[in-house]
Structures are given as C-alpha cells and as structure tokens.
C-alpha cells in the first residue's frame, strides 16, 4: 500500500537503533582486527596450512554431504512408510543439536572405544581413529547431510506430479525419468546446497577443536583460538582473523550468487506417486539408503542417551552451575535476537543480518576482545559477549522465519488496520504480534537452542570460573572424565531440546487460525 505503509512498520527509532547496533557490533570488531593485524608480523607456514585445511575439509564435507543426500532425498521423495514424517522432522534436528554433544555421540560410535571399533575388534580388525581430517569431515557430514537432504527433498517435491504421471503414461524407464525430470532439478539445487555447506564448514570451530588440531588438522578458526589461548599472540590472532574474514566473505559472496530454496519450508510430508520407481530392486535400494541415513543420525543420538543416563544422576556441581549460566545466556541472547529481528524485519535489515553472519564468531570474538581488553577483564565480560554474539548469529534465522509472515500480515490486513486506525504500537500489540506467534516461537526456539549449545566465543573469553555448559563439557572430555562428560552431554542435549520445544510450543498453543 502506497500510503501510510510506514504506520505499519517498526518505529523508525527502533529500526535505526537496531541497524546501528548490529552494524557497530560487526564493524567495530572488524576494524579492531584489521588495525591490530596491520601491526602484526606475517603469517607462518603453519597458518597457511590452516587455510589449506579449512578449504580442503569444507570442500570434502560439502561434496560428500551433497552427494550422499541425492539417494537419500530421492528415496524419501518417492517412498511412503511409517515413521517417514518423524524421519523428515529428525532431519531438522542437527540444526539445534549442540556441536559438542553431537561430536560426543559420534565418538561413542566411531571413536577408538566406540561401538563400530568394538565390532571391528570382534572381527579381529584395528579400531577406528576419528581424529584428523576424516573425523572432521565425518562430523560435518553428520550435521550437513540432513540439511542437504531437506533442500533436495524440497527440490524433488517441487517437480510437478503431472510430469511423473506423463512419464508413466509414456512408459519411460527410470533412467530416462532421471535424465528428463530429476537431473535438471539436481543441476539447479545441488550446487547451491553444496556451497551453503561449504560456507558453514569453512567457519567450523567446535568440530575442529575436538576432532582436529595439530599441524595437519587445524582450521583458521581453530588457529585463531590457539593463537589466543596458547601463544597469547593477539597480533597473530588478528592476522588470522583477517584471513578468515576474507575466506568467509568470499565464500558468502559465492553463496549469495546461487539462489537457494528456503530449507525450513513446510510441506515436506507430501509423497509424489512414482510409477517408474515401482520395482523391487529400487524398493530395496531406497530402503537401504533410508535405513543407512536414519542409522547414521539415530545411533549417535541414542548413544548420547545411553551413555549419559548413568552420569546424569551424579553430575558434579560445577556442571549444574555451568548449566544455569548457559540457560541464562541463552535466554538473554534469545530476547535480544527476537527484539533485533522485529526491528529489522525488512529487506535492508535482512541484508544487514546476512552481512553479520559472514563475519565468523571467532573473528567477532577476537575483535571484541581487542576492544574490551583495555577496559575490562575478559573473564568478566565472557557471558555478556557470548550472549551478544549468539544473538547476532541467530538473527538471520530469526529474520528468515519472521519476515515473510510479517509481510503476509501487512499484505492481508494492512488496509484493514489502516482503516481501523490500528497503526504504530497498536498494530504491533493487537495484530502483528498475535499473528506472528508461531514464527516468533519457532525463531525464539532456534535462537535459544543455538545459544545454549554454542561453543565458540566463550572459549576465547572464559576463565574456569565462568564456563558455559558446552565449555564445561568440553573440559570434562579433555580431562578424560568420560562419565561426567557423558552426563553433561545428555544434560546439554535435553536443555537445548527443551528450550527449543518450550518456545516453539509456546508459539503454537492457542495460536488459532
């Protein structure tokens, strides 16, 4: 609506304030990093090895995730079976699964003492080693195969059912159906999915922290952390942060050129009837792919529960304190992310938020550390900084959930609101917020779970007295207190899921029509 549309927007002061806040929060650390890096020495060969490793592992993770997603998504697209809906929902779970918890579950399956190694041992084989490049890639595939599968599944379901009907009427064999109908979709969707995964893995920190390390398996993000914690070399950390900024920025620009369907869209519960796939051989093949993918996702999750239950009863007090701290950080971060998302729910706001996510958490952390060091002890600001950076990281997802719905409310009810004088604050309290309950609840759930499980900036700032639960759990793992770590992992998993569930559910209850 051309006239009075401003009356249905965020108040100008809120929009401008939020934009300034986000811009400052991103730009100030970047400037601090550039400033300090300029004064630092050149990077050594080890640092370039980190660049190479970052690129290699991200490329491998992206290729493997995307390639494996093709048969899994195809099987899900053309088969109907009990539990299909649950499995598709489960494909969304890694997004809110704390990285350190997932890695713990993978260790319980693929680690030296994991069940896979035990089986190999029974067969007289050497146990597996999960540390190094293949471990990092394995964990990344665990996280991103589900994402790629969801994206491809959407692509498959977007192929009109009539085309498959036509193919059946013409009695086209499966190979021809693939070439005519499925291949063009894959060519369109697969590169975008792979690039997004590449960008995500490029900034991988927690996975590399636990499964990588050493000269052969250090990402740039991890190198920043090591320059901080072990070498106390802020100049080097800043120089590495600058490298990471260039890497992630370049990759993000690459990703922005490829259009991608939204991964959180609903409607994945549809199955397109496929006459060409109605053959016993293909049925078995699809069943195997679905079984393998489900097992790959479910067994590590099950191991977290099985291993964690005994330890949960006698967790040390420090774990409970850390859990309390994490919940507090998650709640503050969620409130901030949602407030920013509401104020920035416009096209410009979304661009700004995507810009913010192109700067990795450790780069932000480095910059904030450089800025805050003269005025405050890092340990004192660890939790506020973590909440702040987590909110920023959740912002693009919150915006993606909220903005389309808000625009739909404006399109559907804008004129009615204007004619009834429901403008400004009244528009928000009486129309927009009640209509947005579902996406707000979902976005808040995502933000809370992401913050709850985050092991990033906190590792730079925290002292032992102020650890969050993921950091505390990582320390327990490092100290080989496996039973305590398993209990902490289960607690962290439960808290992350509970936070997501509570917010998401809160948005659904009573959100009628």
């Amino acid at each position: 609506m051309a006239r009075g549309a401003g009356a249905l927007g965020a108040p100008p002061w809120a929009a401008a304030g939020a934009a300034l806040f986000v811009a400052a929060l991103v730009l100030a650390p970047v400037i601090a990093v550039i400033w300090t890096a300029g004064a630092a020495g050149r990077l050594g060969p080890g640092d370039w090895a980190a660049v190479r490793f970052s690129l290699t592992q991200a490329a491998l993770s992206a290729l493997l995730s995307a390639a494996l997603a093709v048969p899994v998504a195809r099987a899900l697209a053309r088969r109907r079976f009990p539990g299909r809906g649950a499995l598709v929902t489960l494909l969304g779970a890694p997004f809110i699964l704390p990285v350190v918890v997932a890695v713990f579950g993978l260790l319980a399956v693929f680690g030296r003492n994991g069940i896979a190694s035990n089986l190999l041992d029974l067969a007289g084989q050497e146990p597996l080693s999960i540390y190094g490049l293949h471990g990092v890639v394995l964990a990344h595939v665990f996280f991103n195969l589900p994402l790629a599968t969801r994206l491809l599944l959407q692509g498959w379901l977007a192929i009109p059912g009539e085309r498959f009907r036509l193919a059946a009427a013409l009695a086209l064999p499966p190979g021809t159906v693939f070439r005519l109908l499925e291949l063009p979709m894959l060519v369109r969707v697969l590169p975008g999915a792979a690039v997004v995964i590449f960008v995500i893995c490029l900034s991988s920190f927690a996975v590399a922290l636990i499964l990588g390390g050493g000269p052969a398996a250090t990402t740039v993000e991890l190198a920043i952390y090591q320059a901080f914690r072990f070498e106390f070399d802020l100049g080097k950390a800043a120089a590495l942060a600058l490298v990471q900024l260039a890497l992630a920025g370049g990759a993000a620009m690459l990703a922005a050129r490829l259009a991608l369907p939204p991964a959180m869209g609903a409607g994945l519960d549809r199955v397109v009837p496929r006459w060409d796939a109605d053959r016993p051989g293909l049925r078995v093949q699809d069943a195997l792919w679905i079984g393998a993918a489900a097992g790959f996702l479910l067994v590590p999750l099950a191991m977290i529960v099985i291993d964690g239950v005994p330890g949960l009863a006698r967790l040390p007090g420090s774990v409970w304190t850390a859990a309390g701290r994490s919940v507090a950080v998650a709640l503050v971060s969620t409130a901030l992310a949602i407030a920013l998302a509401l104020a920035l729910a416009s096209r410009r706001g979304e661009l700004l938020a995507v810009l913010a996510i192109a700067v990795s958490p450790l780069v932000l952390g480095t910059g904030l550390f450089l800025i805050l060091r003269p005025v405050a002890a890092p340990g004192d600001v660890a939790l506020p900084v973590t909440a702040l950076v987590n909110a920023l990281m959740a912002l693009p997802f919150a915006l993606r959930a909220i903005r389309p719905e808000l625009e739909a409310v404006r399109a559907d009810y804008g004129r009615l609101c204007l004619s009834l004088g429901l403008t400004g604050r009244r528009f928000w309290t009486r129309v927009a917020l009640p209509r947005l309950r579902r996406p707000l609840g979902f976005a808040a759930g995502l933000a809370a779970a992401l913050s709850m499980g985050d092991l990033g900036v906190i590792a730079l700032f925290a002292d032992p007295e102020r650890a969050t639960l993921p950091l505390q759990m990582y320390r327990l793992m490092g100290a080989y207190r496996t039973s305590d770590a398993a209990g902490a992992a289960l607690l962290l998993l439960l808290l992350s899921l509970a936070l997501f569930w509570a917010f998401d559910r809160g948005g659904r209850i009573d959100a009628r029509a």
Binding site: R415, L416, R426, R512
Partner: protein, 231 residues
C-alpha cells in the same frame, strides 16, 4: 455528498479519470469490466492509494490528504475483513477503540451491533468457527458501529452463494437506511446492483461516469455498459 473533482489515478500503464458527485444517502452500484479500476477507485476514496491529480471531497471538505482512519469512510474488502485471532466481539469492538479493554458502554454497543446483524450470542466465537455468511455479518456489524457516513463495499460477499449474498445485500440496504450512510458497492454481478442500488456508477474505458438511476441506465444502457452486459 461525495465529490471526485477532476480525479486522475495512474499506475504504470493504467489510467482512470473521474469527475463526479454522489449525493448523500444513495446506494450506488459500481459496475464495469474487470481491470477497469472499480477497486482502485474505492481504494483512492478510502485513502489507500493516492491520486496523481484531483481531489476527493466529502460534504465540501477536502479529504484527499487524510490517512484512511481519519476519513469519513468504512470499508469492507474482498477478503480478510476479520482478524482470525480475535473473537467476533473483539473484531467488532475495533470500530470503537484500538484498545483491547472495553468500557461497559462499549461492550454493550458491540453486543447491540451483533444483535442487529442477527448474531446474538456468537460474540465469543472466532472467525474460523463462523460460516462465511456469519463472517460477513460480523464485518457489517463493525461497519455499522464505525458509523461513518460513507460505506465502501469492495465485493465483500462475492464468495457467498446467490441466496446468502442476496440476504447480505438486503442487510446492507437496511443498515444504510437506518444510518443514512452513502454506500458504494462494487459488484461484478449486475443482479446485485439491480437488487439494492439506487444508482449505477459505470467504470469503463478509463473513466468513472457520474451515477445514473439504476432503472434508467438498465433500460437504456450506454454502449460501454451494453458491451459489458453482453446484450
């Protein structure tokens, strides 16, 4: 009295001109081919779309620059006339106040309006729990309570079947007669206009023509209307 004074509305290649008056208290059927600009004309009068030239006057007062809520206009749209998350009573109450809390007098007025449109006792239902016809009545109750002198109806009942639609139009007629409101009713069905309209305002070929009494214009339709009616 509504006056459109040398009004020009443009949007990309679309152009509509109007220079006419509508006497107070009349029910005017706005008809014409689709895409001719019937809805656009109503949107300009209601203040949702600015004209590129000319003025909109109500009783001699220039309202061209007023925001929609401050115009003497109540409007029902083709769809989304009710907020799905509010009850029927809460939807109607928006005519009186944007606040959630009502005074006793306001609550009584809402109840009376619902009674008037035949929805006694259904105030606590949400739109999803009402039939299409009942939803239309809730929207009419709100328009009634807004007590604005000009009521614009942009095919709000087009999704209803012929019998229900006829009933709603009769209710519009009754309400307009009680309140003395001027009504502009967009319809793609000439039968609607024949049923309740005193006058017909033809929108065709880039022009909104001055309203002509219904019987008169239907007896001797001008070429543009004949082309539209198809005989």
């Amino acid at each position: 009295m509504l006056a459109l004074e040398r009004l020009v509305v443009t949007q990309d290649t679309f152009r509509l001109e109007a220079d006419l008056t509508v006497p107070g208290g009349r029910i005017v059927g706005v008809i014409g081919p689709s895409g001719a600009g019937k809805s656009t004309l109503l949107n300009v009068i209601a203040g949702f779309f600015p004209p590129s030239a000319g003025r909109v006057l109500w009783d001699g007062r220039d309202i061209t620059g007023l925001p929609p809520a401050r115009r003497p206009v109540a409007m029902l749209f083709q769809e989304a006339n009710l907020f799905p998350h509010l009850t029927a009573a809460q939807n109607v109450a928006l005519a009186l106040t944007p606040r959630a809390r009502l005074s006793r007098a306001e609550a009584a007025a809402v109840e009376r309006a619902l009674d008037r449109v035949g929805l006694s006792g259904l105030g606590e239902r949400r739109p999803a729990q009402l039939s299409g016809g009942q939803q239309g009545r809730v929207a009419l109750a709100r328009a009634l309570l807004q007590s604005k002198p000009l009521l614009l109806l942009d095919e709000p009942f087009s999704a209803l079947g012929p019998a229900l639609r006829g009933g709603m139009l009769d209710l519009v007629r009754e309400i307009a007669e009680e309140t003395g409101a001027t009504v502009l009713l967009v319809s793609h069905d000439p039968a609607d206009a024949r049923r309740i309209a005193d006058d017909i305002l033809l929108v065709a070929e880039g022009r909104a023509a001055a309203p002509v009494p219904t019987a008169e214009i239907l007896a001797a339709p001008p070429p543009a209307l004949r082309a539209y009616l198809g005989d």
